[in-house]
């Protein structure tokens, strides 16, 4: 079950014509798919479109009513490959994944799809994970559209525009026999707003119906000589058709006055940022009425030359606002200007930075710099010659600590890396590669384990150069998500085939946890529509790994350490795989907390564990924190003039996972940790025994207290 449930929100997906939808971007996208008669949907989760997958999963009942097939694909490659259904059948299909990494994984299928061409509309919704909040390398998906001749939509980031882009995208795809990519940025996925609904539409041909009358046509297969024909078709027919369709349907928009000497060309996704900069300069109002003409490219590939040339007419200078690098669009526009012999001066990268997100300040600075050089008369005096006496705000850059993401309170992965850190203390540092997933946080302090990440499911494969072995074994980490995405064949299979002597730790937390807790093949949960409970250990054995250890409670740091040590030192040759399994604490708490509360209310016996630290015994060396980093394990300054350093302290957010105690024990840290189990609704015997124990121990404590001096009322 996913972290966030959209069960309540998906009811709004049933809204018909005349009603207003209010909600998030991803829900609007889903609604738009249904309104446009989509026949099948799929994808692979990952920010920022994880929630889109969750919405689709939660909307399965509604989709089934409409005859729409939903597939939670095994990877982006699987999702892209699914669009093959639109090659021969007039069925609209849409898949979603994150860019640019999802596009990387899917590129084989995407390229083949683009070569074959499509009959039914094929839409790839790419969540462009770029800028603040991104978790991947900073690249653009744009290049993929260019190399394979996908048409790329980048609509203005508001709900009506995004919804319209879905319909436009399907139409464009069908009109040009080309797949279309719809790009939505991080913030537009989660932006809230309203749009006017249309009725949902059943697909003209459902996938079930298509199975009854199969079609094939070898001219669509990517083999010579057809592949040469495909290339010519792309250039001679599909491309001009796309330009014609884009122009006729006015997919790109022009705003502002006709006569101005300057103008701004921008990606649709940049629209709100550009308007805000103009608003701050007094050149646009709240509703986007602008004094500077704007050419908004809701389709960023291909460029429609005629449209652009018309916009250039009568203008001396243009600013191109294109986020990311390199500046594909700007280069394309420059070529148009050159070929057409236009006299317009083109600005872009230079006034705006080549790399990095176009934040509010960057946009304001870029637009201001452009207008200062191209149309200084349009700027207010305040901007032309700033004369503000701004107070000097103290510099906090040395004070405020960085706060990268880390393991949650009670995370079952923490003890795995604590154990690994302990093993490295014994055996020395090892060559360790990481993978994609929550476990990647182990590369950060306090663990600093793993030095590279090459892609999802590629952790062990990225240690392949060391498969030959040496004095110490190479070790790699992979999560259950990565394992099923790509890891089983590409990483584990690679090790088996090449007779690797390395060690793999599969971090199995029962979910694709980092993307929001979606189920994977090895999840332990019952899932009404998916086949779960396929053990990783069996899969690994099945492809030829002989040394496999299954650990079912990662919090047992001592055992975790012993198994790791064994894997790194056993004389046995061949790949060694440790499957370390414990449920993601975030998901577990969400599941168990309400049940526990209910049980307490109903008078049933419930144990609630939590950890604590004896302040007087803790010496403030923080060794425990260096093996944990748990958010609930913090520090506390004592009211004691004899103590210089703050001591460890566990706050009420502790979920009692046990890592502290286990680490204190395994690393032989200190005896200041204790676990307190509050037992709600204890039985009569338990109650009697506790009373008796309290009386006896109380007597002993009182006896000793009476014979010594007590300071501060005996505060320990």
């Amino acid at each position: 079950m996913a972290e966030r449930s959209f069960k309540a929100e998906v009811e709004d997906l049933r809204l018909g014509a005349g009603r207003t939808f209010t909600g998030e971007g991803i829900l609007a996208l889903t609604k738009a798919l249904l309104e446009n008669g989509v026949g099948y949907v799929g994808g692979y989760q990952g920010a920022p479109i994880s929630h889109l997958m969750d919405v689709l999963a939660d909307a399965q009942d509604l989709m089934a009513e409409l005859g729409v097939r939903f597939e939670a694909n095994a990877s982006e490659a699987a999702a892209a490959a699914m669009l093959a259904a639109s090659v021969h059948y007039p069925i609209r299909g849409a898949v979603t994944f994150k860019g640019s990494v999802g596009v990387n994984v899917a590129s084989d299928a995407l390229a083949n799809l683009a070569s074959s061409g499509v009959t039914g509309g094929a839409l790839v919704i790419v969540g462009e994970d770029y800028g603040e909040g991104s978790s991947i390398m900073q690249e653009r998906s744009h290049a993929f559209a260019m190399k394979s001749q996908f048409w790329l939509l980048d609509p203005r980031p508001n709900l009506p525009s995004i919804v319209k882009a879905v319909g436009d995208g399907f139409d464009l795809s069908e009109a040009t026999n080309s797949p279309v990519m719809l790009m939505v940025r991080i913030r537009s996925c989660h932006v809230t707003g309203t749009f006017e609904c249309k009725d949902n539409r059943r697909p003209q041909l459902s996938v079930t119906e298509a199975l009854s009358s199969p079609r094939r046509d070898f001219s669509r297969v990517v083999l010579p000589p057809m592949s040469y024909a495909h290339e010519q078709d792309k250039i001679r027919n599909r491309w001009p058709a796309a330009q014609k369709f884009i122009a006729e349907r006015h997919l790109n928009e022009v705003f502002g006055p006709k006569g101005a000497r300057v103008g701004i060309v921008l990606q649709g996704g940049m629209y709100n940022g550009v308007i805000r900069a103009l608003q701050r300069l007094g050149l646009a109002d709240l509703y986007g009425d602008t004094e500077i003409p704007l050419y908004v490219m809701n389709v960023t590939y291909p460029v429609v030359e005629k449209e652009f040339i018309a916009f250039c007419e009568g203008k001396d200078s243009l600013l191109v606002v294109e986020e990311g690098q390199p500046e594909f669009i700007e280069q394309g526009l420059a070529a148009v200007i050159l070929r057409a012999g236009l006299g317009v001066r083109l600005h872009g990268k230079g006034l705006l930075p080549m790399a990095g997100e176009y934040t509010g300040q960057v946009m304001l600075d870029g637009v201001t710099a452009f207008l200062r050089s191209a149309a200084p008369g349009m700027l207010a005096g305040r901007v032309r010659a700033p004369n503000e006496d701004a107070p000097q705000i103290p510099d906090l850059s040395k004070v405020v600590p960085i706060r990268p993401p880390g393991f949650c309170t009670g995370c079952p992965e923490r003890p795995i890396f604590a154990a690994l850190k302990l093993v490295e203390r014994e055996l020395g540092r090892h060559q360790i590669t990481a993978d994609i997933g929550c476990h990647l946080f182990a590369t950060l302090p306090p663990f600093e384990i793993g030095g590279s990440t090459m892609g999802y499911g590629l952790g062990p494969a990225s240690n392949a150069a060391f498969d030959g072995g040496g004095e110490r074994r190479p070790l790699s980490i992979i999560g259950d998500g990565g394992f099923w995405h790509n890891g089983l064949a590409t990483s584990i299979g690679n090790m088996v085939f090449n007779r690797s002597d390395g060690v793999v730790v599969v971090v199995d937390n029962f979910y694709s946890a980092a993307t929001g807790g979606q189920d994977v093949m090895s999840s332990r949960a019952e899932n009404a529509t998916k086949a779960t409970k396929n053990p990783i250990a069996r899969a690994v054995q099945g492809i030829g790994v002989n040394w496999v250890r299954q650990i079912d409670r990662t919090y047992d740091v001592g055992r975790m350490r012993d198994v790791l040590r064994e894997a790194l030192t056993t004389p046995e040759k061949g790949p060694k795989v440790i499957v370390a399994s414990s449920e993601c604490m975030l998901n577990r708490q969400r599941r168990e907390k309400p049940l526990a509360r209910q049980a307490i209310r109903e008078g049933r016996r419930v144990e609630a564990p939590r950890f604590g630290v004896d302040e007087a015994i803790c010496t403030g060396d923080h060794a425990c924190i260096r093996l944990s980093g748990c958010p609930s394990l913090g520090l506390k300054r004592l009211d004691d003039p004899l103590r210089d350093d703050p001591v460890a302290h566990i706050d009420q957010s502790c979920v009692g996972c046990g890592n502290c105690g286990e680490v204190a024990d395994a690393a032989i840290l200190c005896p200041s940790f204790y676990r307190a189990d509050v037992i709600h609704n204890p039985g009569p015997f338990e109650r009697w025994r506790a009373r008796l124990a309290a009386r006896l121990t109380g007597w002993l404590m009182a006896r000793r207290a009476a014979r010594r001096l007590a300071f501060d009322g005996g505060r320990p």
Partner: protein
């Protein structure tokens, strides 16, 4: 509350009539999404067009996250016009900044989101420490005071109090108290009942949320809290006990009273610690040692050397042995404190598990000094001890028998002075002290720094060994530096370097510098 009267609020841009820009900076897991949802619904209910965005992603996992909301009066539907809102906050362009933690308020200022011409800052003053602050072996906690000072300059108006504590006290989470503070601040043009309705619509948990919401709203209407003055750490609490012991204590107290005034408070705290650790006779020994230092000290620097000695001799004498740990774990006040913190009480019982992992070193440490030393010199015996005793033990201290074992161990104070551990600690202490005293005559400042080096020795087992080794290396550095005018300053730097990381890399660097100029 801070108001910059000299900087008149910038008149809203007429072209942007009535637009309100609000950013929430939080730590992943604080419920920032819930808060943003409430703000959105109160805006919509109040006749505003509202847009909210966030950057959900892996940053949600305990990292710094940001939510951004803009709203403006909703245009009449007949106009067919929609406001164009920005999807992210800009420096110098935020009207209301809600920070769910003190350093996130600092981060907001750092990013330019808090400016004196327009920003109302609503921030919880509590701290959720970042990993980098916690892993330092010394004190790495970032200064909330510096952030507070910056708020004084950067915010047009600030509402600051511990909204986390307030939420917990009302059985809720911080999103509720932040929303309450926002309502109480009057920064949004909606009345409190409208805010209340947004929370109440939330369904489950709404009752507790509402309680926290109301309390925070009241608090914010009052302007938040003033910085609290630090409480006096050395309270003269009542001392109780058998008459004979109280007589002994009085004699010791008289000796404290005879010390110079600047030393007394620290010496009093130190004396209490060592007497609590052992007995009054041991307290007498503590004062003997302190008086030796005093004799070598000069009044010039406010008796700095003696004051520092009062702290560190006490810490050295009250070392952490099995007896002390067992003693501290079997006191009535501890049981009461834990019961209170964990919420035991009517109809609930408390089970307590202690985590011990004794090693051969600790076992021989409890043997008589000479016998212990012989055993320790014999690796076979030590290995045998480790095999038999050296494993993790979980002791249920709420049960009679395990408690009794702990209680008996805690009662071995009479035996303590005969143990190997005591002999070790005493020898180390005396060696250190005599070295300090030898320096005190010509360089009291250096002597004080050498006294302070005792802070490096802490922890148990490996951590303790690493601390000792750092202590030795810094003392070695101090020896090398002796005779130079900057010896004290460099010794301080060495010690601070030693506290920066676990492995002592910073210390190695500092020592290399010292060796380079000697």
């Amino acid at each position: 509350m801070t108001l910059h009267e000299d900087l008149a609020p910038r008149a809203p841009d007429p072209a942007l009539g009535g637009i309100i820009k609000l950013a929430v900076m939080a730590v992943g897991g604080q419920g920032g999404g819930v808060l943003a949802g409430w703000i959105e619904s109160v805006g919509r209910a109040g006749g505003y067009a509202v847009q909210a965005t966030s950057v959900a992603g892996v940053a949600q996992r305990t990292g710094a996250t940001i939510y951004y909301i803009e709203m403006a009066p909703r245009p009449a539907p007949t106009t067919g016009r929609q406001p164009v809102f920005s999807l992210m906050p800009s420096a110098g362009d935020v009207d209301i900044l809600v920070a769910a933690e003190m350093m996130e308020a600092g981060r907001a200022i750092l990013r330019g989101f808090v400016t004196p011409d327009r920003t109302t800052l609503i921030a919880s003053t509590h701290r959720a420490l970042a990993v980098s602050e916690k892993t330092v072996p010394g004190d790495g906690i970032a200064s909330s005071e510096e952030v507070r000072a910056a708020i004084g300059v950067a915010a047009r108006r600030a509402i600051l109090f511990d909204m986390d504590r307030l939420a917990i006290d009302h059985g809720s989470v911080i999103s509720a108290s932040l929303f309450g503070a926002l309502a109480g601040s009057g920064a949004l043009p909606f009345a409190r009942p409208a805010f209340r309705a947004a929370v109440a619509a939330g369904g489950k948990g709404a009752e507790a949320s509402l309680a926290a919401f109301e309390a925070a709203a009241d608090m914010a209407e009052g302007g938040g809290d003033a910085p609290q003055a630090a409480s006096d750490p050395v309270s003269s609490a009542a001392i109780t006990g058998p008459a004979r012991l109280l007589r002994d204590w009085l004699r010791l107290s008289d000796r404290i009273a005879a010390l110079p005034e600047p030393v007394r408070a620290m010496a009093g705290a130190g004396l209490r610690k060592v007497v609590d650790f052992q007995d009054c006779a041991y307290g007498g020994l503590y004062l003997d040692r302190l008086e030796r230092v005093l004799a070598a000290d000069r009044p010039g620097a406010e008796w700095e050397l003696t004051r520092e000695a009062a702290k560190h001799i006490a810490n050295a004498m009250a070392y952490d042995d099995v007896i002390r740990v067992a003693d501290l774990k079997t006191r009535a006040a501890r049981m009461v404190r834990i019961g209170g913190e964990m919420g035991a009480g009517e109809g609930r019982i408390l089970a307590l598990t202690e985590f011990f992992h004794p090693r051969a070193d600790e076992i021989v440490g409890m043997l008589p000094a000479r016998m212990g030393a012989r055993w320790r010199a014999d690796p076979a015996r030590m290995a045998w001890l480790d095999r038999w005793f050296g494993k993790g033990r979980r002791i249920r201290s709420d049960r009679v028998l395990p408690f009794l074992i702990l209680w008996l161990a805690g009662g071995l104070r009479g035996w303590r002075v005969h143990t190997l551990r005591h002999a070790d600690e005493t020898a180390h202490l005396e060696g250190w002290l005599s070295e300090v005293l030898a320096v005190a005559g010509d360089d009291p400042a250096l002597a004080a720094e050498m006294i302070r080096c005792r802070r490096l020795i802490k922890g148990y087992s490996d951590t303790h060994a690493r601390g000792l080794s750092k202590f030795d290396r810094v003392m070695e550095g101090a020896r090398l530096l002796r005779g130079r005018a900057d010896a004290a300053d460099w010794t301080r730097r060495l010690r601070e370097a030693a506290l920066m990381d676990e492995e002592g890399k910073a210390l190695e660097g500092a020592l290399a510098t010292v060796r380079s100029f000697l």
